[in-house]
Symmetry: C2
Subunit: 345 residues, 2 copies
């Protein structure tokens, strides 16, 4: 491995400067990506390993990022489980046969991940193409976040149907979560076997829950995944947004690295989750639209709060947006590396 | 005043049982409200004092709530300031001429509140109709939340344009915030003069900001409002959602009562803001869809965390939803009163 800063930081080992990557770094803010998307649908890109690997490499070829993340979508497992998934232009994902009751949950297939072999193949091809330049991250959606899409039939503002099932049909809810947990564990294991050198579990929407509900309805299922993958020996990142008050519980649920969004100071978050785990974050993705001197002020503040302690991976607090100015992306990566340079190494 | 539990709790005085009211308690979950809305648009209801007063009283006539809140909308001041406001059916508010640059901000009129005399008149009529049964709360949107609607032209998922102005045109941003702060101060003062016995400032969407951005771009303007209204002598409630990490700063910005959403435990939130202010909250509005025994478990947990300490007002963590089962609303109010009964009073 030519650049192992990211993996070292995951293990809380000293690094020459803070590693940085961005969620959705392979995406629409890049002209290279947009020109591929003009020819292929989102699902085509995901399902064609050559294309997925190509997209994965696009930001690595352009920027001195410290990690690549395989190009895929958290909703891909829903399809082989029996849900009809569509990415409607400008509307986000739509599930045409959402999960609303026990019969719907019963019908969901527990897949072993073989149906998502195209992701494993994309990982193999991306690893080859990366040729050790930077490590490759695999990922999956967490049970709550997947359940929210499966139940609501798409994205949601208040998760009404999701919480209705959770509160009203707890047995059905736990069965659904268990199915997702088992599928995700197998799917991530296959990604690791195919060459993913770290994995990230995206529980993007779990921040809509109270802490009590998180502990009761979500945590055991997330624990199952992290426990099940422990012996694979790769660093595991546990990410959510709007989670300022539940970071302790998320950490308890598992992960070697806890993802932090921009709503909380990084030092406060790190104290909360404990310094015996690494942290990843936490620039507001919208800050990338600010003038460069404003971005620099924010990057410096985050690095100051990380305090040079081993175990900080710089990232955004959520995915980069499609209209982000690309020169600001380049400048931000440069700032992270320059401002965090350790003297004497 | 026949029932002054709410005002006593705002002042952190002992009460016989915990007062309760619900944000949006006058709303679509009530058949009485829906039948009026079938005949009148949202803006008609707001602008006709007899109707607004009537809607304000609907939940009070039906439930043993401990406070009424005037029926209005936080966006009403935008219209006389020069913005074209429409409540599009099923879409939420739309502003047809959003604020995007310095010229747009310059054009915004600083109104003195007289243009919103219909709200003051509704307050006078509601006070008469209430006849001392429960106190009446006035309210307004906070500068950030109003600015987000004014800039985005409606509701938003990530506040891209809002943050772009904030970061990119800070002078324009602060002028916009200052205009809103001055208008809101005058508007709330008129509500108090008309008979509002407490006021609530809704900064519903401020939780999308980092703490640094809150302090720099929002806090001074909110402080102006609370400072400006202090001598009016009525309790002031400061409310936001997604604010778990910025509660200390919100408290510093002002308010005698801090609104807490469901994402954080009430006891932790109260320790954070300090026991020298009162707190309001914090049941997930979605919990009202749960079976009654589940609601009771949550109500009991919140009351236990409030610990019988004077200064807790029970409320939801955000507005009640239109499809909430009305019998669950009645049962929840009853639970709060029964489970919090102080022995010997």
């Amino acid at each position: 491995m030519i650049n192992d800063r990211f993996l070292r930081a995951c293990r809380r080992e000293p690094v020459d400067c803070t590693p940085v990557w961005f969620m959705r770094q392979a995406g629409r803010y890049m002209a290279e990506y947009r020109s591929l998307r003009a020819k292929h649908s989102m699902l085509e890109l995901c399902k064609t390993p050559e294309l997925a690997a190509q997209v994965t490499l696009q930001p690595i070829d352009r920027f001195p990022l410290d990690a690549a993340i395989i190009f895929a979508d958290i909703l891909l497992p829903l399809e082989p489980m029996g849900l009809s998934l569509e990415f409607a232009e400008g509307e986000g994902p739509v599930i045409h046969n959402p999960v609303r009751n026990q019969a719907d949950v019963d019908r969901l297939k527990i897949i072993d991940g073989g149906e998502l072999e195209y992701v494993a193949e994309a990982i193999r091809q991306a690893r080859l193409a990366l040729n050790g330049r930077v490590p490759l991250i695999g990922f999956a959606g967490a049970p709550f976040t997947l359940a929210s899409y499966a139940i609501e039939g798409g994205s949601s503002r208040n998760y009404l149907l999701t919480k209705q099932m959770m509160y009203g049909e707890p047995k059905t809810w736990h069965q659904l979560m268990d199915k997702f947990a088992r599928v995700i564990t197998g799917y991530l294991r296959r990604q690791i076997k195919a060459g993913a050198q770290a994995i990230q579990l995206f529980d993007s929407w779990v921040g809509c829950l109270s802490i009590g509900d998180y502990i009761e309805y979500v945590m055991p299922h997330v624990q199952l995944i992290f426990e099940g993958l422990k012996r694979e020996g790769v660093p595991m990142i546990h990410f959510g947004t709007g989670t300022s008050a539940m970071l302790r519980q998320m950490r308890e649920a598992g992960g070697d690295v806890i993802g932090i969004d921009w709503r909380i100071h990084l030092d406060e978050a790190w104290s909360t989750v404990g310094h015996d785990v690494a942290v990843q974050g936490n620039l507001d993705p919208l800050a990338l639209y600010a003038p460069l001197h404003e971005i620099e002020r924010r990057v410096a503040d985050i690095l100051r709060r990380a305090g040079g302690r081993p175990g900080h991976i710089f990232n955004l607090g959520h995915g980069i947006l499609p209209t982000t100015p690309i020169d600001h992306v380049a400048a931000t990566i440069e700032m992270v590396h320059t401002l965090s340079q350790r003297s004497g190494t």
